[in-house]
Symmetry: C2
Subunit: 324 residues, 2 copies
C-alpha cells in the first residue's frame, strides 16, 4: 500500500502537465556505462522549464487552486528552485507569487525569480524560520501557501518524472533520486513501485545533509544542524512528515556523496554528457560514479541545472569547495 | 533538382543510423523565444554520440565499405570531431582508424580519439596539407579515406539531422546551420527543401572564416587564409567541390558571427539552456541571438559540445578570445 498518494494522482498530474512541462529526454553515455559497468539512463530535469524538476510539482498544485485564490495569489519558501517554479507556474496560470528565499541564494536563481514576475522576500538561513515567515505572509495577505514538498499535489507532480522514465525505459531495475525534503523521491517511489514490481528506489543526499538517511536508520524523523554543502538545494534539516511517511515504506536505501564527488560529477556531466548540472542536481550521478548504486539498469534523475558560469568556474577550478 | 544527393539517400542513411546514432532532442526555451521574438527549436547534436553531428556522416559512409576494406581500415583528417566520429564508427563496425589531426587540437578531443582506439597522426595547420598527408597514408597502407565532407554518404548521414528536426517540428520555416566544409548544411538542405517547399536554409560561419559566404557571393569557390577564430571546427579555407555544388543551389544566405557573439551564445546555452556547446557548435545560436536569422519558426543546429572545462572557463572568463 502506498498510503495517501497513489499512482492515479501522479497520472492525473501528468495529464495536467502535458504540453505545459517538458517531457525531458532520458540520455545515455557509453563512456559512463563502460566506466561504471552498468547501463545508466539519465533523466534530464535540468532541461525542464526553469531548469529543474520543481516546476512539475508547483504547477500541479497551483493549477488546482480555486479561481478566487489564484486571483489573490500564492506564497512559497524555497532555497531557490521551488521559488522559480512557483513564480513561473503563477505567471503561467495568471496568478501572482510572493517567494521567501535565503539571502545567500545564487544570483542566477534570484534573477530568474524576478524575471518570472514574483515578489521576493529574503531571510537568514542560519537564524530565521522560513516556514514561519511564509505562514505569516500567507495569513496577512490571504495568500495560499505552496509547500516545496509537504503537499500531496506537489509530490504527485514531481512523481511524473518517474512515469516518464519508466515509459521511455521500462526495464530500469533501480532509480537513484536526489533527496532534500523528500518530495521528488516520494512521488517517484509511489509511481515507480506501483508500475514495476521489485524496482528499487535509492535516495541520494550530500554527506553533510543526510537527514533522511539518519531518519530512516532511526525509524523516525531526525533533525540535523543546517548542512554545509555545495549542494544548496539539498540543505534540508529534517524530512517532511508526509514525505517521510511515504519514503520510510518505499525507499530501499539512502546513500551519500561528498562535495568533491559532486564536483567530479558536474565535470563529467559537462565534458562527457554535454549538460550543465547544479551541485544538487548532480548527486545522483555522483553516487553512480562512486559505485554506490547497485543494479544493472540504473535510472538517475539529474534534477537541476541552475548554476551560473561564475559559480561553475569557481567550483570546477578546484579551490576549497565548502567556501563557495 | 538536388543533383547527385537526394532525399532518398538521406532516408537510407537514417535507416542505417537507427539504433546506432541518437535521435537527439529538439529543445525549446521561452526565455530565448521572448528575447528574439521568434519561436526557436534547438537541435541538440552536442548530445549526439561523441558529442557532435559528425558521427552520423562517418558511420553512414564507413558502414557501406566492403568487408575486406573494413578489415584493412580507414584513414581520415579532421580538426577534431570528424576524427572522433571516424574512430568511434570504426570501433563500432569492427574496423580500425588512422586519424590525421592538427597539432593544436583540444586535449579533450585528442583524449576521446585515443579512447576510441584510433591511431593519431599530427600535422601543422599553418604549413602542411592535411588532405595530402591523408592521401599518402591511404595509399601506403591500403586504407580507405573517409573525407569529412566531400563524400555523398557523409553528407547523406549528416542530412539526417534535418530529417529528425522536421519530423519533430514540421513547421520550421527556416533552418540555421553551421558551415565549415559545408557537408552538414548540404545534407540538411537536400532533405529539408525536398520535404518542405519554401523552407529557407541559412548557413552560419565565423566572421573570420567566411569562405562559403564569399564563395556564394562570387559564384565560385573562393580560398581564404587560415581563419583565426575560436570556432576551431569551422576553420575551413574553401568550400568543398561537392558541397558547394549543392549549397550554391539550395542555400538562401550565409550570415556570420564574431568570437564575442560566439562566447555570448555559449554562456546563454550554459545558463539558460543547461547545455554545453563548443564554439563551433554555438554559431547558429549566436546568429539567432544577434538577430541575423529572419523567420518565425527557426530551427537551429547546435552542432557540437566538445570542449573541456579548462577551455570553457578561459573563454567565458572574458580574456581576449582569439588567443585561446
Amino acid at each position: 500500500m502506498t498510503g495517501p498518494l497513489r499512482l492515479q494522482d501522479v497520472r492525473d498530474a501528468a495529464r495536467r502537465l502535458a504540453g505545459v512541462a517538458h517531457w525531458t529526454p532520458l540520455i545515455t553515455s557509453r563512456t559512463l556505462d563502460a566506466r561504471v559497468g552498468r547501463r545508466v539512463r539519465l533523466k534530464c530535469e535540468n532541461l525542464q522549464r526553469m531548469g529543474a524538476f520543481k516546476f512539475r510539482g508547483a504547477f500541479n498544485a497551483i493549477s488546482q487552486l480555486a479561481p478566487r485564490q489564484l486571483e489573490r495569489g500564492v506564497v512559497a519558501y524555497s532555497s531557490g528552485n521551488h521559488a522559480q517554479a512557483v513564480a513561473l507556474a503563477c505567471r503561467q496560470l495568471g496568478s501572482t507569487a510572493v517567494v521567501v528565499i535565503p539571502n545567500d541564494v545564487a544570483p542566477a536563481k534570484r534573477a530568474a525569480i524576478s524575471g518570472y514576475g514574483a515578489e521576493i522576500v529574503c531571510y537568514d538561513r542560519m537564524t530565521e524560520d522560513r516556514a514561519e515567515i511564509c505562514a505569516q505572509i500567507a495569513e496577512q495577505r490571504g495568500l495560499a501557501m505552496v509547500a516545496p514538498f509537504e503537499d500531496l499535489q506537489v509530490m504527485a507532480g514531481q512523481g511524473t518524472v518517474a512515469l516518464e522514465m519508466l515509459h521511455d525505459e521500462p526495464d530500469c531495475d533501480v532509480l537513484a533520486v536526489p533527496v532534500s525534503g523528500g518530495g521528488l523521491i516520494a512521488g517517484c517511489a509511489v509511481a515507480a513501485t506501483a508500475l514495476r514490481r521489485g524496482i528499487r528506489i535509492i535516495g541520494v543526499e550530500p554527506s553533510a545533509g543526510d537527514d533522511t538517511r539518519r531518519s530512516l536508520v532511526a525509524g523516525r524523523r531526525i533533525t540535523i544542524p543546517v548542512p554545509l554543502s555545495i549542494a544548496d538545494g539539498l540543505r534540508s534539516q529534517t524530512p517532511g512528515e508526509l514525505t517521510f511517511a511515504i519514503n520510510r515504506r518505499l525507499l530501499d536505501d539512502v546513500v551519500t556523496v561528498d562535495d568533491d564527488e559532486i564536483v567530479d560529477a558536474m565535470r563529467f556531466a559537462f565534458e562527457r554528457l554535454k549538460v550543465v548540472l547544479e551541485p544538487s542536481g548532480a548527486v545522483g550521478l555522483a553516487a553512480v560514479l562512486a559505485g554506490r548504486v547497485a543494479g544493472n539498469r540504473i535510472g538517475v534523475v539529474l534534477s537541476g541545472g541552475n548554476i551560473d558560469t561564475d559559480r561553475f568556474t569557481r567550483l570546477i577550478g578546484g579551490d576549497q569547495p565548502s567556501s563557495k
